[in-house]
Symmetry: C2
């Protein structure tokens, strides 16, 4: 199912393919986030054009609107949203926690209020699997407990044990092993021992892949890389997924540490907010220096936006508050990250990943120093 | 330049082709409005997919942002916005009036304050031609004075004479007759004599086409059709354009009265506001009855949205406040109107326009009676 194709000589970076019910994914891969069953402002045509291999959707949002029954009756999420490639759905645990004003961890699950209408709901590990089976996603995530940066001691330990227990219940409850993959989520906060124990326990239960949760939640970069390094060397034969990472520098560094899968709202969110990726750092399109800049957003980018539109036009769209700015900006930013993963694969196959990564990072950071963001 | 191809036996409806610097337009035609150099929420790819032949852009908006110099340096509006088919630009007179809190008609032009930043500007007939020459649109409109419904007496007469004088000055000032067409705009409010005199005077000056201004500005339908009928029989060998009409019923009736060209923000505006056209009347997509309606927006529609997406999904997108709702809804509504003009052309060629129009209107109105808008 997970087939490692090449390993870089100088790092933990690897290329692989992961087989799902809706086709194979090549890794390293960036997954655009389609929270409510649409990647914000990006029609599916464009996702295909920029070679998107898999998207992520949020169980929490789809559970509240339109509800799993509607999606099941539509023939599943793929059919409902017109997307015939793989979909990963998260467990909703993170959103139940981060989006609800009132929430409570119970022995059997998470109690929360809808961010839409305040109605009360209760997620158990079994219920979250049931919902994802109705959605029919290709990769499911079990209900887990996300710990904010700084959680420690007995509380952190208890939550981590609970995450393992719920992962086990999810695995037992899963009906349809062949059609839907199930990943485990490693918790344990900043405690490296706890993280390692959690990973070992999850491996013992056995999952199709392993995600690292509660990372990229505000911790310093050193802590992020320390946790990643402490875990990734133990996960060389299964897909390793770091949840919520969309910064180009972090993606490039994390691939070198063995990460295979990424997702984040960052590229589409900053695009709606006039910020676009280039190989020379991020640029803010409303800056006056772009008024008569008729070159593309990035001269080396091959995306459909850079082929047809100029910085001056993008600036004009942002200044006019036009929806097209969000559409084109999101397409470009997603394409930039997807292209980065393609270039990474090539470099890994040719055993020059570190050289590639260092060149990218040097230029991106240098550019960032002169940029206006 | 304007070549009448067929005339319906039972009405004033006709099909024709109009040659411009960026290709031929077939009429009757509906022109999507791209106010600020983009049809709101619709990427150019989709405009091509739904067979858009010409778009309209607003001189007023482009003059204020990004400014005519930027567009000229970009190589003109077509190049700036990546649209290689015909573009019609209006004169900005209507917007200078309707969008500005402070405006004043002077003997030589219109004084107004920018709706963006309150800065003061002055449009003369010559300046408006200069701007449109910098934009490089295929069809230009001369500065005119729009009269609100109810304007009468000496005031109406003076404004109409002023419109004729400015049209004459625009014609004299125009540099580039071969590349850019110039239309005249018939004013005269509800006074049929004044309207007819204005048309005669404009014909005397000689334009490539004639638009009827200050119609569809809140007057009762009877008045609209009365003014239209009083003018259209005198304009059978030049393009007749009614500005600001996008209602399917009005388009169908107006084609029967000899109108060749239409534009309006209506289809994209109501789409952003969850209202979509069907052959059985308008529907409001957030209605509960669509929750599990997995059929297309309109079963007979051939647009890319109806091919791939359901009413249930559209409802979900609108309820989730997703930008994709505006994108897909706008594409569908524009496609609906463009398709209507294609069907009209066929019916005219086959001398059955009235039958076609009556069938469409009967069904659209019947549907509307049951609809939920």
């Amino acid at each position: 199912m997970f087939n490692v194709l090449s390993r870089d000589a100088g790092s933990l970076a690897k290329t692989a393919s992961l087989e799902t019910a809706h086709g194979k994914i090549q890794t390293p891969v960036f997954m655009p986030v389609g929270t409510a069953g649409t990647v914000k402002a990006v029609p599916a045509d464009y996702l295909h054009k920029i070679a998107t291999e898999i998207i992520l959707s949020n169980t929490y949002h789809l559970y509240l609107q339109p509800g799993p029954e509607v999606i099941k009756e539509a023939g599943g999420l793929h059919s409902f949203i017109n997307w015939n490639k793989p979909i990963l759905t998260d467990s909703g645990g993170f959103q139940a926690f981060s989006l609800s004003r009132i929430k409570k961890i119970q022995p059997n699950g998470i109690e929360f209020q809808s961010f839409k209408d305040g109605s009360k709901h209760f997620f158990t590990p079994e219920k979250v699997i049931d919902i994802q089976e109705k959605l029919g996603s290709d990769i499911m995530m079990p209900l887990d407990i996300c710990t904010p940066f700084g959680t420690r001691g007995k509380e952190l330990e208890d939550y981590t044990l609970k995450t393992i227990e719920w992962a086990n219940r999810s695995k037992i409850h899963q009906q349809n092993d062949a059609r839907q993959l199930l990943f485990g989520i490693v918790q344990g906060g900043n405690n490296l021992n706890l993280r390692k124990n959690c990973l070992d326990a999850l491996k013992e239960i056995g999952f199709h892949g392993y995600a690292i949760g509660s990372l990229s939640v505000g911790e310093p970069d050193e802590v992020y890389y320390e946790i990643l390094e402490s875990l990734s060397s133990h996960m060389q034969d299964a897909p390793l997924y770091v949840m919520g990472v969309g910064d180009p520098e972090k993606i490039i560094r994390s691939i070198g540490l063995g990460v295979d899968m990424f997702d984040c709202v960052l590229p589409t969110r900053i695009a709606r907010n006039r910020s676009l990726f280039t190989f020379d750092g991020k640029i803010t399109l409303t800056n006056a220096r772009f008024e008569k800049d008729f070159g593309p957003i990035d001269p080396e980018c091959q995306c459909p936006v850079c082929k047809h539109y100029s910085r001056a036009y993008m600036r004009h769209l942002y200044k006019s508050g036009e929806i097209l700015a969000s559409i084109l900006g999101s397409v470009h930013n997603l394409s930039f990250l997807i292209h980065l993963t393609h270039e990474s694969r090539k470099a890994i196959q040719e055993h020059r990943y570190l050289e590639f990564a260092n060149q990218f990072l040097y230029r991106y950071q240098q550019g960032g120093n002169h940029a206006d963001t």
